[in-house]
């Protein structure tokens, strides 16, 4: 006999508790005062003996209670001889691979047929279960004895686009073997793809009573060519040609001369001839001239006569839209700031923003509402009407970037930002000639690529009291250089110098363009989200401010992929198949998500036979170690006794309650009662 959880025997220390309590609480007979013992005689039926007997019995019951509790938790077992074959029962598991690679020459149909044939060895009394697996193992049935139910389940297995994982299947098999106390026989129907093996081979291990029988659906390594990746921008803003970079590869394949085409909205835009080297890859570059406005469904195709045609195309989504507009407000006498800023913002190949520059006098009739964000470049004066509408705009969720220079320093407070300006500092000839940036928060999205303002010389800075604003960068004399403040729903970013080449030489440095681009993207809310999704990956549906608002996901067939409750609450969505998914976000934006199968599935190289044999013998090896003769012979197995201990525990606890109530009742009862007069 042993214990499966011997650590629980530590609970035996609790045996001291009832002993301690009983010693402390030992009953002491309180003598009853009486007038005289003249008429009393001692009797041999001793009350004390009687009580002591009850007391010892109660103590024994309580000790037994704790002892049994500790033993039951320690899970005692005895090893018993088990002959599984003599019992004749087993768990018969049929596992069918429905991953993307099973589309090769329609391997799934023969796999299902073989699985149905394998059911002929299913005997009455056995338990059966059907599993389909790709990146996850799905139980299609419970453990049933009805072969008809198993057949129906096998026939219902549908082709998927996921990536197969034998480690996931083995994990499921281990759990099933642990849950059932009968031998397990597993028939695995798969194309035995090498890329599906887990990196540590030990993850394929199964329980000792599990017998693995592999049914390979592939004869040999199939040559396969496929589009490995497509690099295309998700959104385009300018009326320029769109660059699409595609990688076409071959696996277990000879060299091939073929055509690669780019298709947009089912229209072939361009075709190129390429030569794919043997087991190699080639990159093809396309320039799409006339991508229409709105959401576009694109794909790159390779013409190859292989058996897995589905990976010869790879979808991508392309959205063409108008760039956002930035309102740049400056003093009429300072046009250099807008020149540098506009040039920097237009510098990226596909800038999402364009600059509309106005002077402070012209700003009176401009509404900031239609702009992505507003830049106030060293303004000394703002028309009252504009300032009011700008404040309203920021409180309602808009953003503003404020650059401060000699003109702005004439104001007592920074406009919109509403913090006091203390002084305008010039670095004179007597002391230091200029200031440099000392501490920069490079984790902030607006400054991450600003390179810490390295080498930038600041000749004139405006010192502002930070108040409750967050300081993102400081100069060497600790003057705040960049500050951020949330105002209502919006935010304001203050740059303590100007964008011209007078107060600093920042526009001449390489870090100026990234700073302008990043701060613009940050303030305008332009997100650079991923455009490349594989099957079974997760799509983030909502940000923190979108909680509780409904959204919608339409699958490639145009059907709703989310239930009503999921549409209101789901944070993520697992993309189940290839194709274009439409996402209508909570803020009303429409997005097109292109999903493709994991391209590791396109490598149809098979697992070597030696490895397959090793996998099959994993369960048998453990079985053989249990006793001479291997499978079908008697072997020992632990037989848990906790249930019996729990039963005795229940009986003892009932007895304890009974005795304790009587014992306590006797103690609490008044010793002498008045006789009725």
């Amino acid at each position: 006999m042993g214990f499966l959880s011997p650590w629980f025997l530590g609970g035996l220390a609790a045996l001291g508790l009832p002993v301690y309590l009983h010693l402390l609480k030992q009953h002491k007979s309180v003598p009853l005062p009486f007038s005289s013992l003249m008429f009393f005689e001692k009797r041999t039926q001793s009350s004390i003996k009687h009580r002591r007997l009850k007391y010892l019995l109660l103590l024994a019951l309580r000790l037994a209670l704790i002892l049994l509790l500790a033993l039951a938790f320690a899970n005692p077992f005895v090893t018993t001889a088990v002959n599984p074959m003599a019992e004749g029962k087993k768990l018969f598991i049929v596992a069918v691979d429905n991953s993307f690679s099973m589309r090769t020459g329609d391997r799934l149909a023969p796999a299902k047929q073989q699985a149905l044939d394998a059911l002929s060895t299913f005997r009455s009394g056995d338990l059966g279960q059907v599993v389909s697996f790709a990146s996850k193992a799905s139980l299609l049935t419970q453990q049933v004895q009805d072969p008809a139910g198993l057949r129906t389940a096998i026939q219902s297995i549908a082709q998927g686009d996921g990536r197969s994982s034998y480690a996931e299947l083995s994990q499921m098999l281990r759990s099933a073997a642990q849950a059932s106390h009968v031998p397990v026989e597993v028939h695995i129907f798969s194309d035995m793809q090498k890329s599906s093996l887990p990196s540590p081979f030990s993850e394929l291990s199964v329980a000792g009573n599990t017998r693995v029988i592999l049914h390979s659906q592939a004869g040999a390594d199939e040559p396969n060519w496929f589009v490995e990746s497509v690099n295309a921008p998700r959104s385009v803003y300018q009326a320029k040609k769109v660059r699409v970079l595609a990688t076409v590869a071959g696996a277990s394949s000879p060299a091939l001369d073929t055509d690669v085409a780019v298709v947009l909205n089912n229209k072939v835009l361009e075709t190129k001839k390429v030569k794919i080297p043997a087991n190699g890859r080639v990159t093809v570059e396309f320039f799409l001239a006339d991508a229409p406005y709105g959401l576009n469904r694109g794909e790159v195709r390779v013409s190859a006569g292989d058996k897995l045609a589905q990976d010869n195309t790879l979808p991508f989504a392309l959205e063409r839209k108008e760039p956002g507009r930035v309102l740049f407000v400056h003093e009429a006498r300072q046009p250099r700031g807008v020149l540098y800023y506009k040039t920097a913002l237009d510098a990226p190949a596909d800038s999402a923003l364009t600059v509309d520059a106005v002077t402070t006098d012209q700003a009176a009739n401009v509404s900031p509402q239609k702009y992505s964000f507003v830049v106030l470049s060293d303004v000394a004066y703002l028309p009252v009407q504009f300032e009011d509408s700008l404040k309203k705009y920021v409180r309602g969720g808009g953003s503003v970037l404020i650059a401060l220079g000699s003109a702005a320093a004439t104001r007592p407070r920074v406009p919109i930002f509403d913090e006091a300006i203390t002084e305008s500092r010039y670095s004179g000839r007597n002391a230091e000639r200029f200031q440099g940036a000392a501490s920069v928060d490079s984790t902030h999205p607006a400054l991450s690529r600003a390179n810490g303002f390295e080498g930038v010389k600041f000749y004139q800075t405006v010192q502002v009291v930070p108040g409750n604003a967050r300081v993102l960068a400081r100069l060497t004399d600790q003057t705040p250089l960049v500050m951020e403040k949330k105002i209502g729903e919006g935010r304001a970013l203050v740059f303590g110098s100007t964008f011209d080449n007078i107060a600093n030489d920042f526009p001449l440095h390489a870090s100026f363009v990234p700073f302008v681009e990043q701060s613009a993207n940050y303030l305008s809310g332009v997100e650079k989200s991923a455009a490349d999704f594989t099957v079974d990956s997760y799509l983030e549906l909502r940000s923190a401010k979108d909680q509780g608002t409904a959204l919608e996901v339409l699958d490639p067939d145009g059907k709703r992929a989310l239930s009503l409750s999921e549409a209101a609450t789901a944070q993520t969505f697992q993309l189940p198949r290839e194709g274009f998914f439409e996402l209508r976000r909570a803020n009303g934006r429409h997005e097109l998500i292109a999903v493709h199968a994991d391209r590791r599935e396109s490598d149809l190289s098979m697992i070597p036979k030696e490895t397959l044999a090793l996998w099959q013998n994993m369960g048998r090896g453990a079985e053989q170690n249990n006793g001479p003769g291997g499978a079908g012979n008697t072997h020992t197995a632990p037989y848990s006794l906790w249930w019996y201990f729990a039963l005795v525990l229940l009986i003892v606890s009932l007895l304890e309650s009974l005795f304790a109530s009587r014992y306590l009742a006797a103690e609490n009862e008044p010793m002498v009662r008045k006789e009725a007069a």
Binding site: S35, E41, R43, I48, H50, E669, R673, E675
Partner: protein, 295 residues
């Protein structure tokens, strides 16, 4: 239905023995519908025709008014009797299974009798004792005697063991005049020894009354569990069983009471058992009725 007699618990709630005694005595006396000359000593005997030399104070003027003949009213104890109360305050008297201990009951009884005597202008005295005399108030009819008696009764607290012989010997030295002696005790002693101890008083021509005060739990005790019983006087402990208490003990206490009554009667003494759960005025009235009938 109105409570006719005073529950002992009611008496225990009355503060002041004087008031207790007055409540008890006035209550049952007025309930008798008899003349107030009902008592220990002044008991009406007969009318006798007036003859010369008789004290005019004894003439019943009511009879004279109706018949125009002078008659003298004769009493059985014309001279005031001397009443001595012997109150046992041994430790066993402190026992009580309800709100009233035996000693409390005995004190109420003593005070009530004293009050009655005082009303009848009898000389009443008291000896408080356990194994020795604890307090002694000689019988007297002087002003303030009742207050002295009440004070002595109030001071009576449970003492040690009972020893009848020593205090009664003492009593014999104090009592030079014949009278009535009432011994109030729980008599945890063999009946023969009790009678032997009090008999010498009887020989002096005294009238002896034994008031046997017992708690209902002493007469019919009930215990549910075997337990230790502690003697309040000797402090000895003994294990007893419910079975014994239910059967043998009752037989023994009954035999003891019967023996005491029998021996007392044979020795020409009055014996009266007082159960402390019984209303005192009811018990007192019963005893006095019996006593009157016996005359």
């Amino acid at each position: 239905m109105l409570q006719r007699f005073l529950n002992p618990t009611v008496l225990s709630s009355i503060s002041g023995l004087e008031l207790v005694a007055k409540t008890v005595v006035d209550g049952f006396v007025s309930g008798l519908h008899r003349s107030p000359d009902f008592g220990f000593s002044q008991e009406f005997a007969e009318y006798r025709a007036y003859s010369e030399g008789d004290d005019l104070r004894h003439v019943d003027w009511n009879v004279f008014a109706r018949t125009e003949r002078a008659y003298l009213k004769r009493y059985r104890g014309e001279t005031n009797s001397q009443l001595t109360l012997l109150l046992d305050v041994s430790a066993s008297m402190g026992f009580g299974s309800h709100s009233l201990s035996k000693l409390d009951y005995a004190r109420f009884l003593t005070a009530s009798i004293c009050y009655m005597s005082n009303q009848q202008r009898d000389a009443a005295g008291i000896i408080v004792f356990d194994d020795d005399v604890k307090n002694y108030v000689p019988p007297s009819t002087r002003q303030g005697q009742f207050a002295r008696l009440v004070h002595a009764i109030e001071k009576a607290e449970p003492g040690t063991r009972t020893n009848l012989e020593k205090p009664l010997l003492h009593c014999q030295q104090f009592l030079h005049r014949r009278g009535i002696i009432a011994l109030i005790s729980d008599f945890y002693e063999e009946p023969e020894r009790v009678i032997k101890a009090v008999e010498p008083l009887r020989f002096h021509g005294n009238e002896l009354i034994l008031f046997h005060v017992l708690d209902p739990q002493e007469i019919r005790p009930v215990i549910n569990e075997p337990m230790l019983v502690l003697d309040m006087e000797t402090k000895d402990a003994l294990e007893v069983t419910p079975d014994y208490v239910r059967n043998e003990y009752r037989e023994k206490i009954d035999a003891h009471i019967a023996g005491l009554r029998d021996h007392a009667q044979r020795a020409g003494m009055d014996y009266f058992l007082l159960d402390t759960s019984r209303p005192l005025d009811e018990a007192l009235r019963e005893y006095l009725s019996i006593r009157q009938r016996r005359r």
